[in-house]
Every structure is written in structure tokens, then in C-alpha cells.
Symmetry: C2
Subunit: 219 residues, 2 copies
């Protein structure tokens, strides 16, 4: 198919496809007749993926390029692909100052308390410590119970992620899910947390009720 | 203190403070001697908070302005402040296309299955459905067990969030934590998920081991 069809098929504007191409986010098409380049189903999928990484995942173009590059590296070792994914989201936002030593210590304490088999250089340590710093600016120092609850939740999602990986057979599919799942699992978790918060509000502040989704009517 | 001291105290560049001021993210100082404006401890805290919202929370300036505005509205009803926070993160990223009807249905199904007391207009529905769409581009359709695990994790963090809110007495402190906690709880959860993934990798792919944080040496 031509580039205009590719855009239509993937459901994005032609200008977006051309932008993705310029930014090196799409593999090249196949040269056919003079001045004609052909694209296939793999390109349609890639355009959709790039849009999801940029829009839903909130990645910068530079980070999305690294993620896509990891997918295109045939037979990359699993640990390496995971590393790219792990760092992708961590560097997706504006570069910021290092977290405070106190917050970093609290996260390392938490890891040791739980016995997580992970090193202090895991990018999640910095991300979580920075969040603690931010909460500290409004005078909120999370209790041990609060951090334990978040850690328990993290463990549940991580085990589901790894479980899902083992259902994929070929090495390529595993890497792909590892990378994309790491990026898009965050907005999935964040979205569900919004809904669960609304639910939990009923118990903590019963006067602020809200409607329940009815299984039948969906309203 | 003067504006230069304010910047030093808060640990950000003077140009950042001036930028926050121009963007309406800081309350005005108190006019003292001619050409002199005084700032206090509350300004220092606000500068730190704004930096956390923009950098760690990844909010746009426009969304951060709404969040800060919600904090400055004295006595806003709790449900309203929560609404601002709920929408803040959802609109923090590039505006994107609506999720597919199929993904939206899956999230509404999940909500009904769990019995979450939340409406279909909760912004988390759209965010979670979009993430499902993104995962679909690599041919990954999460199983019911996968979504249930994510929902269970969301419930645990949401209950911890609401529990933390009830430890705050004054209405202001509750609103503040509700708004900021919603924004900064996401990077906290995402950071811990990275660490938990590394831990879980040991079980799923034992050949890709990594060091454990030693409680004593922290290395």
C-alpha cells in the first residue's frame, strides 16, 4: 500500500506518518515502481505502536526511537531489552535533579525489607525517591504501611507482567511485550488507580458518593 | 526573603522561579519597601511543589496551574478537588484520540466484575482503555487474570491513599494531599513496579540474575 493508505489504515494523519518517518520511528518501505514505495501490514502495526508510545505512554520522540530500536534489534538478550524498557519511562520526562539522599534511603530500605532481588541502580529507585521528595513538599511523609501497600501492589502487577511474558513463545514476542508492556502498563495502572480511588472514597468520605457502573446498562 | 533567596532556598534556578511567576504558578509576594517584594516559607514550599508537579509528575504548565488553583481555592469541596486531580494526570499528556469501544467495554466489564463504585465518566476509564489499545498494537490482549491483577493492585494503592487522607485533619491538608498524591502517586507506583519487575524476572527467567540490595551495605 502507499503511504496515504498506510495512514488511513492505521487511523492517523498522513502528516503524522511522515513525521514518524523523518524521526526514524518507522522501518523503510519497499521500493517498487519509480517514485513509489510500498508498505505492508507490519508498517500499519508499527504506526499504531508509535502513536501509543508517544500519546498514551507519553514518551518523547528520542525515547520512543530507543524503544523502537530495541524492538528492531534481532535476538537482543532479554535482560538488555528489559533494561531499555526500564530506562525508557524513567527518562521520558524532563531531566530533573537527583532525589534527596533521605528519599533514596527510604526506597532502598523498602527494597531490603521486602527482599526484592533488585539492585540500587534500578531506574525505579530514582523515580520512586523523586516522588517521595515531591510528596514531602506538601509535608506528607508516607508511613511504612503506605509504602508497603504500594510495594505490594507493584509486586502484583510485576508478577502479572512476567506471567504474561511466559505465554509468548518466540524471543521476539517476549522482548516486544517486555518493552511495550513496561511503557503502557503505567497508564493502565494509573487509569485503574483513578477508578479505584473513586470507589475507595465512598468508604472514607461517604457523603461524596458517585454512581456505580451497572453491569447491564453501563451507565 | 528576596526572590533570589527564595530560589536558593527552594533549590531551583532563579530563572525557574521567574518562569513559575510569569505562568501564574506562585502566589504573589508581599510588597515592602519600594521595588522590593518579600517571600516567605510558604513560597519556598510552593516552588518545590511546582517543580515536583512539572518534573516528577510530568504535568504541563497549564495543568499544573489548574492543580495549584485547586489548592488555592479555600474550602473547595473534597469531591471537587479530587475531580481536578483525577483529570489533571489524564489530560497531562498530548490530547489523543478516543479509545476503541472494545477496550472501553473491557474496562467497564472489569469495573462491574469487581463492583467498583465508580462511574463510566471517571477519567481513568479512558486512560486504561487507551493503554489496552496500545498493547493491542503488538498483538497482546491481556487476559482477564492480568486485568484482575492490575485492578487488585489499584485497589490496594487507592485504599492506602484514602487511609493517608484520613490522617490529615484540616480540610486544606486533605485537599492538598488528594491533589498532589494523585499526581505523584503515579511515578511512585511506576518506580516501584520497575524494581518489582526486576525481582520477578528472577523467577521467570532465572538465567538473568541481578544483585540484591544488601540491608547493611546498600550495594
Amino acid at each position: 500500500m502507499r503511504v496515504s493508505e498506510l495512514a488511513r489504515e492505521a487511523g492517523v494523519a498522513l502528516s503524522s506518518v511522515k513525521y514518524y518517518q523523518r524521526e526514524g520511528l518507522l522501518p523503510p518501505g519497499v521500493r517498487g515502481a519509480p517514485n513509489q514505495v510500498e508498505y505492508g501490514a507490519a508498517h500499519v502495526q508499527r504506526v499504531r505502536l508509535v502513536r501509543a508510545l508517544l500519546e498514551t505512554g507519553g514518551l518523547s520522540v528520542a525515547v520512543a526511537r530507543r524503544v523502537v530500536g530495541a524492538l528492531d534489534t534481532q535476538g537482543a538478550p532479554i535482560a538488555e531489552a528489559f533494561g531499555v524498557a526500564q530506562h525508557a519511562m524513567s527518562t521520558a520526562r524532563t531531566p530533573v535533579a537527583a532525589p534527596s539522599a533521605v528519599s533514596r534511603e527510604r526506597i532502598l530500605d523498602l527494597m531490603a525489607r521486602i527482599g526484592w532481588r533488585a539492585g540500587p541502580d534500578n531506574p525505579g529507585v530514582t523515580a520512586a525517591a523523586r516522588a517521595l521528595d515531591g510528596l514531602g513538599t506538601i509535608g506528607f511523609t508516607p508511613s511504612e504501611e503506605y509504602l508497603d501497600a504500594y510495594a505490594e501492589a507493584a509486586g502484583i502487577t510485576a508478577r502479572a507482567d512476567l506471567e504474561a511474558l511466559t505465554t509468548r513463545s518466540e524471543a521476539d514476542g517476549i522482548t516486544e511485550l517486555m518493552v511495550v508492556g513496561t511503557v503502557l502498563g503505567d497508564p493502565l495502572a494509573a487509569g485503574l488507580r483513578r477508578i479505584a480511588q473513586q470507589d475507595a472514597t465512598h468508604d472514607a468520605f461517604p457523603q461524596h458518593g458517585a454512581a456505580v457502573v451497572d453491569r447491564e446498562t453501563r451507565r
